[in-house]
Amino acid sequence: MAEQAIDLSKMTISDEVAVQISNMNKWYGQFHVLRDVNMTVHKGERIVICGPSGSGKSTLIRCINRLEEHQSGQIVVDGTELTNDLKNIDKVRSEVGMVFQHFNLFPHLTILENCTLAPIWVRKIPKREAEETAMHFLSKVKIPDQAHKYPGQLSGGQQQRVAIARSLCMRPRIMLFDEPTSALDPEMIKEVLDTMISLAEEGMTMLCVTHEMGFAQAVANRVIFMDKGQIVEQNSPREFFNNPQSERTKLFLSQILGH
């Protein structure tokens, strides 16, 4: 993956804050999943979150668009605080795109309809315009010719690229990825990662849960390591991989990279 490394020096990270999480805690019943999480994401940042299974990575990024509710602390996305106010939640969700491990395309709609549904109903964009935008993003993820097929007729990699295009059609300012390549065969992983890399090159703010360490090294400006619901270590990719500080991180890296 390294040969695809994007020129990080050219990437600008602004001072503007995209996501601000302060002292956030979350429980599932009695189980304390997220513990005192503090995190500031600036516009244009590309953050990779990694950690062992069950460490709360998914839960953390799902809190950012309120698919999960946090019980204490504060989450502010693009200036809007997430509370029980449905208006705020809908506002945040239309600004934040999310890509899931299992794609979650709508199987009863064609690829094009998958991509135009939310723009038409949430953004109230005329159908024609929404279709043009959709075709634009479908070409960008390199599957414009599949627009009139159903998701079930596409390969996993193609489906995941459609899912990315579907999110992009809402013109989000922040993209969340939850293990976007974990359900894919190696051949398809590359096509999805390429799509994500080109997204990063355009300056999209990205938070990405992934175990693709090559991707992290090439694209991320920051790697966050989580364990037991806490942020254990965060650093630039170079430092993180070459010079991990905590014992837990060293163990994790040796398991995932070593053998």
């Binding site: 934040v96 999310m98 899931f100 299992h102 979650n104 009863h108 109903w121």
Partner: protein
């Protein structure tokens, strides 16, 4: 130790056609009917049973009599033609009384009205059943209930128009309130406005309007309805009303709001736990109790409401099954895209849940349609028991037994079988998951 020769393929193989299968009836029969001793025995037993049945039924059907004025005349003809011991079917009864099976006691000179209503119904249903038809036809579908009501019951045309205005009021109230108050509250408000309109404005206004511009056709009373006219009126109305109601109940049962949830659960469990006949009996008492004194609540409308509630409870459970079969990811994707609850339900969740539930929903519909014969218990002339009793009360047809049931049963079968085939067609058409 096994030996092997290293191997590298030089040129790739081209795809070839599969070997020709053994086809033809004999191969088919060997594979499906006589594949083993057990299967062979079962096949032979089956053939015997069918043969035995045919031996008894076919002569009876072969000795059909179509022209006679009474059962005794039928029997005389059969004895004369096929010998004294022969049995035969006396279809002459159907020939003489078919119109009662179809229209009940609807005035004979007005048969054109239900007939026209039936033909228009086919036009109204078509765009619902076949999505490929122009969507504009739905406007007629929306108006059809009012036209149908007027054609069947007669009276002033102003009555259905004023009822329609009540729906307009509902839509208006909903339209204005929905952006501020949300879907459920504004739907309630609209319903309230419409109910007030129907209860207090309806009758005076339509009478007054008819006084100014009289637009009346002859009244036909509900107790003149009967036969398949009655079954179809109750069946179709209850089917079209119970589906939306079932959807709402299913959503209510899954709702986070405790009140909505417990009301839905109570309603569903109560209705499902009580036999339809009990509901039919008690409803006449209860409804009289709640309505303003003096208002005579039409018996057919009463039955339609109950049958609808009954079917809705079952359909709600069928749809709940469909909802449970949807992966959580579908809800999450809809949420993540910013769709609100009603949009997500309407655009993502329901289309898929309903598709999964088609077989169950259609089963409920078929059950509902056959249950319309239970209205015999509240004194209505259903085609199976009510009309048959009337026919048998005639001295000419006293003692006739199989023919009326076979006749009515065949029509029920054709309609229900039609529904079943349609649902299978729809399932195939909607299959987009390609798994």
């Amino acid at each position: 130790m096994t030996e092997f020769t290293p191997f590298v393929r030089k040129d790739m193989l081209e795809p070839r056609d599969p070997p020709g299968n053994q086809q033809g009836p004999i191969a088919w029969a060997r594979e499906n009917l006589f594949s083993g001793p057990m299967n062979t025995v079962l096949t032979l037993l089956g053939i015997l049973a069918v043969g035995w049945l045919a031996l008894h039924i076919i002569p009876w059907l072969m000795h059909s009599v179509w022209n006679a004025n009474s059962l005794s005349e039928c029997r005389a003809i059969i004895a004369q033609t096929w010998g004294p011991d022969a049995t035969g079917a006396c279809w002459a009864m159907v020939r003489e009384r078919w119109h009662q099976y179809v229209f009940g006691f609807y005035p004979m000179d007005l048969y054109w009205r239900p007939t026209l209503a039936f033909l228009l119904m086919l036009v109204a249903i078509a765009p619902v059943l076949y999505q490929s038809l122009p969507r504009k036809m739905m406007w007629f579908t929306a108006l059809y209930p009012f036209i149908c009501y007027w054609l069947l019951w007669g009276g002033t045309l102003w009555a259905p128009i004023v009822v329609l205005a009540g729906f307009g009021l509902f839509a208006l109230a909903f339209r204005f309130a929905a952006p501020k108050l949300g879907v459920p509250v504004s739907a309630g408000l609209g319903l309230l406005a419409a109910a007030v309109w129907w209860l207090f404005v309806q009758t005076p206004l339509s009478t007054a309007l008819n006084g100014i511009i009289p637009l009346s056709i002859r009244d036909v009373d509900s107790d003149q309805f009967g036969g398949f006219l009655l079954s179809i009126v109750i069946g179709i109305t209850a089917i079209s009303a119970s589906l939306p109601m079932g959807i709402l109940l299913a959503l209510g049962r899954k709702s986070d709001m405790l009140l909505v949830k417990s009301l839905s659960v109570m309603f569903i469990e109560f209705i499902r736990g009580v036999p339809l006949i009990t509901l039919l009996f008690t409803a006449s008492l209860l409804l009289q109790y709640f309505l303003p004194p003096g208002s005579n609540f039409d018996i057919i409308l009463r039955v339609i409401i109950l049958v609808t509630l009954f079917a809705a409870a079952y359909i709600a459970e069928v749809i709940r099954g469909g909802l449970a079969a949807l992966p959580r990811g579908q809800y999450e994707a809809a949420d993540a895209l910013g769709l609100d609850y009603w949009q997500a339900q309407r655009l993502i969740i329901m289309p898929q849940a309903l598709k999964i539930s088609i077989p169950g929903i259609v089963s409920s519909f078929i059950g509902l349609f056959k249950d319309t014969t239970l209205v015999a218990f509240v004194g209505l002339m259903d085609p199976l028991k009510g009309i048959t009793a009337v026919v048998r009360a005639d001295i000419n047809w006293k003692g006739i037994y199989w023919e009326p049931y076979i006749f009515a049963g065949t029509i029920f079968f054709l309609i229900c079988f039609g529904m079943s085939r349609y649902s299978m067609w729809l399932e195939r058409k909607l299959k987009t998951d390609h798994r």
